[in-house]
Amino acid sequence: MQLALVHARYQLLETVRIPVAIFGSAFFPAAAMLFFVVPFAGKDPVGATYATAAMVTFSVMSANIFQYGVGVAEDRDQPWNPYTRTLPAGSAPRFAGRVMAGLVLTYLSLVPVVVIAATLTEARIDPASFLLALVTVAVISVPFTLMGLTIGYSLPSKAAIVVAQLVFFPLAFGGGLLSAPDQAPGFIEAIAPYLPTRGAVELMWAAVGDYSVNLLSLVMLGVWVVVLAALAGWAYRRDEGRRFS
């Protein structure tokens, strides 16, 4: 545990020294807030709150897919990574440290969205819901962390960047993150429940407002977590087997 914290601390240090990485994951949701949420839903407290929750989900997704997908793939290219395996610790502290650092960066990337929502829109949330939303962020990070790990462990870094960019927009759009709850165009309403972004955003909506979650979305989110966990585990073992067996 002590060591996991050490690993987390140094991973954060490495990331913070190149702040572009953080700006990157915070930029899209913040820009989307400014261009779409503030002018169109900003005046309506309920609509603005839901829209903010959707942007938070967007942010959680992109932060996790990118930092794990690209970060892990880049680490695998570095000889430093095998060196850390010769230190007297298993791979667990490094892995746990990575997940902790990832969660910290995820929360950090949410700051602009929340600040914009609080200052430029009518979005309102009570303290209890805010705490619930914070916890929900950690919960919905799970599928996207696993997705990022799958990408990072199965692809070389250049391919990982491309794949991360290719998956995140369709997931955001298809999951209905860019529309108000249940107001998305018909075909999106039809496919959304089958995407992990939908279950995630519904959990966020339920945390911040009076929204009741669809069973189908939630079940599918569970299916995604199981499938992605299996994929990530497979990719990790395959990579380890190829490089360290």
């Binding site: 000889p79 430093w80 095998p82 060196y83 010769t86 610790a89 360290f244």
Partner: protein, 301 residues
């Protein structure tokens, strides 16, 4: 009695083979490193030195055979508590400062060397606050080697520690390695420079084409590996003892031998007519080719 001997062996490979697909990188290698030894692994690039080291420090599994570190499996973190390994210099995290990298590695050991002491020993004290990405090649290399000593190891494993260093930096590192050994530390280092192994090691293990070709004292190995090239122009040559290999290139005859002095004496004594005699040292690669091509017959002699 047996227990004491067993405990003395810090690293061991027993009939270890390692395959990468179709390539056999190591072929039935045996190696034992005992406490207090300074062992050089000598061999040309691609001989299997790095593969052997990666097995001993737990980065890879042997395809067959057994490796042991402090009496345990090197892949078990507990077995690695008393060893120190050098990362490849290119692998240092570029955004972390020198001091931070040392602290990070220190966190893995129960009783690490204080940061200041370590950096002093390797001439890095002025660079504590510098980011690794901004270090020169020599500074990176020194930091990389310094990291192997952080955890007060009993055994330090150095893979090509001074490749690409200038003479001065190389000697600084050699001093540090010698000092560690003088304090009772055990060192296993690989190199493709005979000079480096001669300067540091007492015992040399010569590896070529994945096999151990020789495991002996530096002097004995130098006699084998220190092959010279005797070049001359001559019509015909009588059979000469001690010639490992003969080449004819552009009318010149090149004779590879472990004892150039004796060969020249034999040449003169044979009364054969020759001109333009030249004696030159060979590269390690040439020497290995000579040894392996003749199936190690002269090596055994």
């Amino acid at each position: 009695m047996i227990n004491i001997v067993e405990r003395d062996i810090l690293a061991r490979a027993e009939r270890v083979s390692r395959r990468y697909g179709d390539v056999l990188a190591l072929d039935q290698v045996d190696l034992e490193v005992r406490a207090g030894e300074l062992v050089g692994l000598l061999g040309p690039n691609g001989a299997g030195k790095s593969t052997l080291i990666s097995l001993l420090v737990g980065l890879r599994k042997p395809s067959s055979g057994r490796v042991e570190l402090n009496g345990g499996d090197p892949r078990d973190p507990a077995s690695r508590r008393q060893i120190g390994v050098t990362p490849q210099e290119t692998g240092l995290p570029g955004t972390l400062r020198v001091g931070e990298v040392v602290d990070f590695v220190s966190a893995h050991y129960p009783d690490p060397v204080p940061r200041g002491d370590l950096l002093d020993r390797f001439g890095l004290a002025d660079l504590v606050r510098r980011q690794c990405g901004g270090l020169s090649g020599g500074q990176k290399r020194r930091l990389a080697v310094a990291l192997a000593f952080v955890g007060r190891p009993r055994l330090v494993v150095l893979d090509e520690p001074t490749t690409g260093l200038d003479v001065e930096a190389r000697h600084t590192l050699w001093e540090a390695i010698r000092a560690f050994h003088a304090d009772g530390g055990t060192v296993l280092l690989s190199s493709h420079y005979l000079e480096e192994v001669e300067a540091l090691a007492r015992r040399v293990v010569v590896i070529g084409q994945g096999r151990v070709l020789a495991d002996d004292t530096v002097d004995a190995v130098r006699a084998v590996v220190g092959v010279r090239r005797v070049s001359l122009t001559a019509e015909t040559l009588p059979p000469l003892p001690g010639v490992v290999r003969t080449e004819h290139v552009d009318g010149r005859t090149h004779l590879l031998t472990a004892d150039a002095d004796q060969l020249v004496r034999d040449l003169v004594a044979s009364g054969v007519d020759f001109r333009d005699l030249e004696v030159r040292p060979t590269s390690l690669e040439e020497a290995f080719l000579a040894i392996t091509a003749t199936d190690a017959a002269p090596a055994a002699a």
